[in-house]
Amino acid sequence: MMPDLLIELFSEEIPARMQARAAQDLKKLVTDGLVDAGLTYGSAAAFSTPRRLTLAIGDLLAASPTTKEERKGPRADAPQKAIDGFLRGAGLQFDQLERRETPKGDVFFAVIEKPGQPAADIVAKVLEDAIRNFPWPKSMRWGSGSLRWVRPLHSILCVLSDEAGLASVVPLEVDGIVAGDVTFGHRFHAPAPLRVTGFEDYAAKLRRAFVCLDAAERADAIWNDACNQAFASGLEVIEDKALLTEVAGLVEWPVVLMGRIDAAFLDLPAEVLQTSMKEHQKFFSVRNVTTGRIERFITVANRETADQGATILAGNQKVLAARLADAKFFWENDLRVASGAAGMQTWVDTLKAVTFHNKLGTQADLIDRMAQMAAVLAPQLGADAALSEQAARLAKADLSSEMVYEFPELQGIMGGYYARAAGLPEAVAQAAPEHYAPLGPSDAVPHAPISVVVALAEKIDKLTGFWAIDEKPTGSKDPFALRRAALGVIRLLIENDLSLDLDAALSAAAAIVGPRGDAGTLAQPSDILGFIHDRLKVYLRDQGLRHDIIDACLGSGGQGDLAVLVKRARALEAVLRTEDGENLIQGFRRANNILAQAEQKDGVEYSFGADPKFAETEAERALFAALEQAGAEIKPAIAAQDFGRAVAAMAALRAPVDGFFDAVQVNAENAAVRRNRLNLLSQIRSTCGLVADLSRIEG
């Protein structure tokens, strides 16, 4: 049996959000240190609770292996001085040197043997280094000491059990804290010291002392118990993984309690209840399965009590009532403003004093630009212009409301409630929460026309504004989330299948934003469009559409309309999957290559249009006819955005193109015939180019 090592760093309460990471950091620092010193191990597991970081290492070497270092010295006939110097460097006596024959004559060698170090010595050093260099996100000093830890460190447990299973403390002292074999149980249930001999003993004794060591086990226990209690009352817990992890980091001995929300608060918006309970109290929300209304809460205590948690629950309910009284106070004040004479405009006026960005004006300026942009976009997107403008003017009004001041994450959501309370049209109310969307690649995209217009206005303004002040994203830096804004524009247009000339929209936005920044420049719409195209390629790649297909479509005009661009790309992709499409690409490449070589050689461009009268073979004449027919079909199909028909017409060229190459030698002896055939190849390129620039297709 190989030695096992148990380490516990016992401190005052570690912030929940730091625990998991800290356990992993401890594991990495210690195991890396051990391995670097030659101590390999079989297994390592790290644990955390609010008061401890624990590391259990199994099957550790008892000592680092002996190492031999061989140094080549001077030749045997070297001056004595050189030999003495070598001996000093190696720390050896003359008779310890080895004399070996080499092709260059006899040479002295020093073989320095370094004996292995016992595990305890290595562990002591590695652990001290780990403690002194621990990468806490924030650390502190305490008392008169200079050691830094996340909160005061009280004890170090470091026990090594040898081959025989005998446990011994690793001698170690860090700033006056002497390592031992003692830990402590739950702060209130079992605070007495516990002497332990190894990990199993430790975990078992802790469990008896009301400490569940494993955070995942605590989280599971909390979630299962919460769900069971809710289920027993015909209710369900609203899942919140981040909250569950946090709560599991606040307790060593979780006890789940379900409480009621006072009836006076049940009519507050669900989002307000949930946010207030989560942010302030770290409660889970429990809802009625049928009505969806949040009626109860789950709190997690850190102990058992003789009254089964009755006092704790009553206390929590009381605190919640006070919190919700405050939320209700904000809610009622806000409702009074929203439904007052000046309505939500009161808030917009206050936003004149709130800076959006020092080079882009106040929040009120932003709102004004959004309203102008919405008025431009609405007619093009089939939305009511007046309603769109009104919605844009009010979508961010709630930023001055008391509720959003208290809970910034409720922005937009509250605006919707307040707009309804003010008797504004539903579409205007709906736009308040929805205009922020989509917030990411998986966030839902709004579909209501007014919401879409305001959401686009917000994002186009944002891109244009930050472009104007030269705050474009670079590398991994995107502090204003402009990539997300561009993705938002893309998803709003494509997932709603909306046709919009982005070129024109971005030009309009550039004029609305106006000259900005130190240089007083306008945003360049083409730059922004290029940025959007780059994001579009990423977006479509995630949906399995190749970037070269997008490039091919971008190469044939009409780039400003993303919905059209995507339709064209999808049609092209579909046809490229067919045998005709695949072969057409081969034929196209062949034509293009021959043409490119000839153009380079002859120094002319063959784009004059071929004349059928020089056609010598049936295959040649057939290609003439096919190209004419394809051109006649593709042009109107593209104009009608019927890309299926357009690509089908293009794909129909496959047979005549193949037939042509089978039967015809392009580089004919007769110069006129050759020139005519090259011009015919050029016509293949230009006809296909009506659909897409096939030269961009890879593979």
Binding site: E12, E13, P15, A16, R17, P50, K138, S139, M140, R141, W142, G143, S144, V150, R151, P152, H154, R187, F188, L250, V251, Q281, K282, F283, T299, A301, N302, R303, T305, A306, D307, T311, I312, L313, A314, G315, N316, K318, V319, L320, A321, A322, A325, D326, F329, A353, V354, T355
Partner: protein, 313 residues
């Protein structure tokens, strides 16, 4: 665990028990500072005494004012004027958590029935240029105290580190006494000849101040007072340390700091009146912080901070 602890009957009994407890544990029991402050931390016994090398242990009640928290006495536990109980021990003793829990037991919190938790809360006072790490202490989900290890005050590293405990007295007392609305809380003993509730003492003043804070306070006058306090603070600090009259070296850290406190409170009033925009807000906080830092600079050059004449070149 103390098994003889009885449940207190009034707000003042809780205060008296805390005073007795911390006196027993070696703190000097000070009296409230005689100026308007936003929190017990502003008392020079905390702000200034947490600086320098000299050991310190003090506890006191501090009436505190937060104009924006006024609710006309209607909210069950939000007040624009309330009491904090403040403990500052330098260097922080290793058993400070245990000492703190002992104080809760002393005021009748039964550890066997309640759920006490230390929840991360890093303390930062932008106006004092101060920060520390610690927790909010929760009792059954209610924040009953702030527990902080001071790392920096007035821009100076705290060496040694002070441990600071701040109890929100009304909330804590309401909890211990089982009262749902602060105004219903017994202030003195309910069986006293003239029993007084918290509301008898403070309901009217909450209304008066809420109205004044939010709607009436003359902002022009307040703005002028702010400027004056700032100017006076800087003027005091600019005076030569050597007093020509007494021939003594007298650094006027405390009088200067009074002006800093004044400026801070006036800023809070202006904030409640809603006349400070978001951008201005940062600028005002920065101005108060600059005062606090200079006061701290001055204080560390005094005997109370461990300054010695021969230690200076």
């Amino acid at each position: 665990m103390a098994d003889t602890v009885t449940t207190p009957r009034s707000f003042q009994e809780i205060i008296l028990r805390l005073q007795a407890y911390w006196a027993k544990h070696g703190c000097a029991i000070l009296q409230p500072y005689d100026m308007e402050v936003g929190a017990g931390t502003f008392h020079p016994a905390t702000t200034l005494r947490s600086l320098g090398s000299q050991p310190w242990a003090a506890a006191y009640v501090q009436p505190s004012r937060r104009p924006t928290d006024g609710r006309y006495g209607e909210n069950p536990n939000r007040l624009q004027h309330y009491y904090q109980y403040q403990v500052l021990i330098k260097p922080s003793p290793p058993d400070l958590q245990a000492l703190y829990l002992g104080s809760l037991e002393a005021i009748g919190v039964d550890m066997a029935l309640h759920d006490i938790r230390f929840v991360e809360d890093d303390w930062e006072s932008p106006t004092l240029g101060a920060w520390g790490l610690g927790w909010e202490v929760w009792c059954d989900g209610m924040e009953v105290s702030q527990f902080t290890y001071f790392q920096q005050v007035g821009g100076h590293d705290c060496t040694p580190v002070s441990g600071e405990l701040t109890y929100g007295l009304e909330r804590l007392a309401m909890y211990v006494l089982g009262v749902d609305h602060v105004m219903d809380m017994p202030f003195n003993d309910p069986s006293a000849p003239i029993p007084l509730r918290y509301g008898d003492v403070f309901k009217q003043t909450e209304e008066e101040y809420a109205r004044w804070n939010f709607d009436v306070a003359n902002t022009d006058v307040l703005l002028r007072h702010f400027e004056e306090a700032e100017a006076e603070c800087l003027a005091i600090l600019a005076v030569d340390h050597d007093d020509p009259k007494t021939g003594k070296r007298i650094v006027m850290a405390h009088p200067a700091y009074d002006q800093c406190i004044k400026a801070s409170h006036i800023f809070n009033l202006l904030d409640a009146r809603g006349v400070i925009s978001v951008t201005e807000r940062q600028a005002y906080i920065g101005r108060v912080r600059a005062l606090a830092k200079q006061c701290a600079d001055a204080f560390v050059q005094t005997r109370a901070a461990g300054w010695q004449p021969d230690a200076v070149a």
